[in-house]
Amino acid sequence: MVSLILILIASFLIMGIISRTKSIASGRKGPGIFQPMKDIFRLWRKGSIYSKTTSFLFQLAPTIYLSSVLMAILMIPFGEKPGIVSFSGDFVMFAYLLAIGKFMMIVSSLDTGSSFEGMGASREALFSMLVEPAFFILMGSLALFTGNTSFHSIFSALHYGSYVSYLLSALVTFLFVLIAMIENSRMPVDDPKTHLELTMVHEVMILDNSGFDLGLIMYTTNLKFALYGALIANFFIGSLPLFLSIPLFFLIQTGFAVSVGVLESFNARFRMSHNPEFIFMLTSLSILVFFGVLLILGKFF
């Protein structure tokens, strides 16, 4: 319950912090920290335009997208406090829940019959497929490391014994940040601020969404960011008491947002054909983490 409330609060702020960081880094005055959320609220009050090519599916998909992410959030624990639902192997369901949201968004963008949106859908399908193994191997290594198989039990049993394990946790955090960037269609795989449809991935998929639905999609993106931020925060919270862990949670979320902003300010987007290579690299790094865990546990022969 704690994590749900905290993630909801963080989701209101995180996009603002990112854009604020980016505007400071580029020397602009930039919008206020609440501007992205205000935009979403305005979208929720607006009417909609639907393409005549689309079917009912197009109107249903954003709802399912939001619901899937909300359901996934229910599993996220907060240190020693379990999420609302917790069972062994829940991270499998977590990944598959996010996948059903993606499936619906891809399908709904094909529903418009536009060549641009088909392009975005094709890329999103491929990239999200490629990033899945890295997530599973990381969660698998954590399961191996702690001897547990659910989010809650993994994170509450996570404590670091040696220097190697600190190194490992740094690597895992780094990988999770990159996975979060890909899953949320940010730099270096996708640039949300680009103005050319040919170079977009996620943005081009939602070209025809408007009004309430567009608001839902944009808010879901925020939620997803906060969700991954919370996952990363869980690496560090451990068994701290609430009065320490809640500020730490927000500190980590802010740090996550700032680092995303900095990364986006000083990095250029990859060429589309380099993206799969980059994502493959994540998978191989996560296999490295797996080996590291085996090494720490002394399970190598």
Partner: protein
């Protein structure tokens, strides 16, 4: 009582066949459907009795050739009887309306109906009989009748070719099985399955493994494990839709039944066998889905997906087998329960997908994905049912595919915590394989659903199909079950636990606890899925409340300033997967034909891609080519000269008579030389 029921079950189709010449075509269909329903009810009664009573066993005396014919119906048989029965009933139900357009081919249709009933009867008998020879006879009846079912449109050369391919491969499968059964017969003197257990228990492990490999190859051809899968992508597009559904749903699963049955019997080095199955399965799964994405024909795509799902089932079986080897109850339970459940689930969603594909074919007379589009407006029910099938086959919650994959994932993740280094590494790559299968399935079905049903039609089709209640009822029934199993998997747990119990060495308290803990997990998953559906409903109703007061405008799709007719500009299936194709190019074999734009005003440029099966080319086409090349040197023997043929006959007879004599002489000579 059960003996009596089974006898009636086997007898009534033949009574029906006797009545067939007297009836009109329509009443033949009705009669056959009635008979099939009675058969299914009878077999279901027997199956439930087997579940509740813990197994049924009786014997027929048999003849001097077969020996005693034992009939044993345990939970495993009962599970498969129920799965087969359901798919055959819905298949027949759907088939009746699908075959209406062939109503003028009276004889062909009557034959089709007979073959359908025969195939069903033979398959149920395969599940219950435990005598090698009788098993092979039923297996042959099933193979022949499914061959007849596939070549319904035998006047098309493609169909006949696919059918003959199926027939040959089925017989290669029978060859392997015959060798395996004969090996046990020679060594034990009986065809009874129980002898296999005795025999392999007493022999060193390597003999058990060898015997298993023979059985596995035989059953793997039927099930479609790579590299024995090559008949599937040919046979499925050739057969009528309801046959494709039944074939993919249950006929290939009889191979899975065979493997599961043999695993119950063989007592050998289960760890090696488990590794073997796991390796084959993960290759099967990944290879199947990798090729599925590239297909242009919707039914061919679904056929490759059957191969993929067989791989997933195989992963479950392999895990369970390793569990037997390591004496790990958790692995046994998750592995076998996952495999059994996925067998059921796949039979549901794959038959649903094939039936909806059949509707698409009826509506447009095309199966080429790139020529379809926008069908959701013409046949909405079919479209949404196809969507449900797609979500289920991708293993997404809240549908049934997720439940069985979750079982297998639980087993895999739990085995990560084991202490064997090699095993952990192996499991890591299995998990990688399973995750990649899931991700690729997502690409594949967003492509299939998105291109076929969404957007605008890419070519003009004369729509000649209406969705009425009769047509759609069986499909809705299947979809309902898909959802129910996804949300309340616990409903199946009594049956599943009975079937899994067979594999547990001795029913211990530990096993019971582990089973209940997994089932408890599944209940949570079920409630959670239900919560997901509820949340969607809540969010949607909020959205409805808010947006109902807002202004809704209908406009064109945004075209970046272009306002012409954008149909030809839509993404096609080939362009949707282009990036993937480039990535997979080194592994797969994609033939590309391109006509470049030449000159200032190029008129017509084309590009074609054909995904070819690399393994088929290497393992089947190439050896056959070499064989033909070798045999061609002997064509001079076939010279059309009748005198020469008579001479061959004499030479043959002479050899058969003389050979034993000559061998005797040689032996005598050798003995004589030895004595010197």
């Amino acid at each position: 009582m059960e003996k009596f029921l089974i006898e009636i079950f086997n007898l009534i189709p033949f009574v029906a066949f006797l009545c067939f010449p007297l009836l009109k075509l329509k009443s033949k269909g009705v009669l056959a459907f009635g008979i099939l329903s009675i058969q299914v009810i009878l077999s279901a009664i027997v199956a439930f009795n087997a579940f509740s009573g813990g197994g049924i066993q009786y014997t027929y005396p048999g003849s001097w050739i077969t020996g005693i014919i034992p009939v044993r119906i345990d939970a495993l048989s009962a599970w498969f009887i129920l799965v087969i029965g359901f798919t055959f009933v819905t298949g027949a139900w759907y088939g009746i309306q699908y075959m209406k357009k062939y109503i003028d081919q009276k004889d062909n249709l009557s034959f089709h109906i007979i073959a359908y009933l025969l195939a069903y009867t033979a398959m149920v008998d395969i599940c219950i009989v435990q005598n090698g020879l009788v098993f092979l006879i039923f297996w042959e009846i099933m193979a022949l009748s499914s061959f007849m079912l596939i070549i319904f449109e035998h006047y098309k050369a493609e169909t006949l070719k696919a059918g003959i391919n199926f027939l040959i491969q089925s017989h290669v499968s029978i060859l392997f099985l015959t060798v395996a059964f004969l090996l046990t017969k020679i060594n034990t003197g009986t065809f009874d399955f129980a002898a296999i257990a005795d025999y392999t228990y007493r022999q060193p492990a390597i003999i058990g493994i060898g015997l298993f490999v023979f059985f596995f190859f035989g059953f793997a051809i039927k099930a479609g494990f790579v590299p024995f899968h090559t008949w599937l992508p040919l046979a499925h597009p050739a057969a009528p839709a309801h046959i494709s559904g039944v074939m993919s749903g249950v006929i290939i699963k009889i191979g899975i039944y065979g493997i599961l049955r043999v695993l119950l019997l063989i007592k050998s080095d289960m760890i090696s066998i488990g590794y073997f199955i796991l390796t084959v399965s993960v290759i099967t799964g990944v290879y199947g889905v990798m090729l599925a994405i590239l297909q242009h024909n919707l039914k061919r795509l679904l056929a490759y997906h059957s191969i993929e799902n067989i791989g997933i089932i195989g992963i479950g079986i392999g895990l369970g087998t390793i569990g037997i080897g390591y004496n790990n109850t958790f692995l046994i339970v998750t592995g076998f329960a996952g495999a059994l459940l996925h067998t059921l689930n796949h039979s549901l969603f794959k038959s649903l997908l094939f039936f909806t594909a059949g509707n698409v074919y009826q509506a447009t007379h095309s199966m080429m994905i790139d020529r379809l589009g926008g069908l959701i407006k013409k046949i909405p029910h079919t479209a949404y049912l196809f969507l449900i099938g797609s979500l289920a086959i991708c293993g997404l919650p809240p549908f049934n595919g997720f439940v069985s994959e979750f079982f297998i994932y639980s087993g895999l993740i739990d085995s990560l915590l084991s202490h064997h280094f090699l095993f952990i590494m192996f499991i890591l790559f299995i998990i990688l394989g399973l995750v990649i299968i899931g991700g690729l399935a997502l690409i594949c079905f967003t492509k299939a659903f998105g291109i076929v049903f969404l957007g605008t039609p890419r070519e003009k089709h004369e729509m000649s199909f209406d969705e009425n209640r009769m047509n759609m009822a069986p499909l809705y029934l299947i979809a309902f079950l898909i959802l129910i199993i996804g949300v309340f998997p616990i409903l199946l747990s009594p049956l599943l636990s009975k079937a899994v119990d067979l594999y547990l060495p001795n029913y211990s308290l530990m096993a019971a606890m582990q089973l209940s803990s997994i089932l408890h997990n599944l209940t949570t998953v079920g409630w959670y899925s239900l919560g997901f559906i509820a949340l969607i409903a809540v969010v949607y109703s909020i959205r409805h409340l808010v947006t109902s007061k807002r202004q809704i405008t209908i406009g064109d799709t945004w075209g970046c300033g272009y306002t012409g007719y954008p149909t030809k500009m839509q993404y096609t299936a080939s362009s949707f997967i282009r990036t993937y194709r480039k990535l997979a190019d080194p592994v797969l074999l994609v033939k590309k034909k391109k006509k470049e734009a030449i000159g200032l005003y190029p008129l017509w440029i084309t590009q074609e891609t054909h995904a070819q099966d690399k393994l088929e080319k290497w393992l089947i086409d190439k050896p056959i080519y070499l064989l033909r090349k070798t045999l061609k040197r002997f064509t001079f023997l076939q010279n059309g000269n009748i005198q020469a043929y008579i001479l061959y006959g004499f030479i043959f007879i002479g050899l058969t008579v003389l050979l034993p004599v000559i061998i005797d002489k040689i032996i005598a000579l050798v003995n004589f030389l030895n004595q010197l």
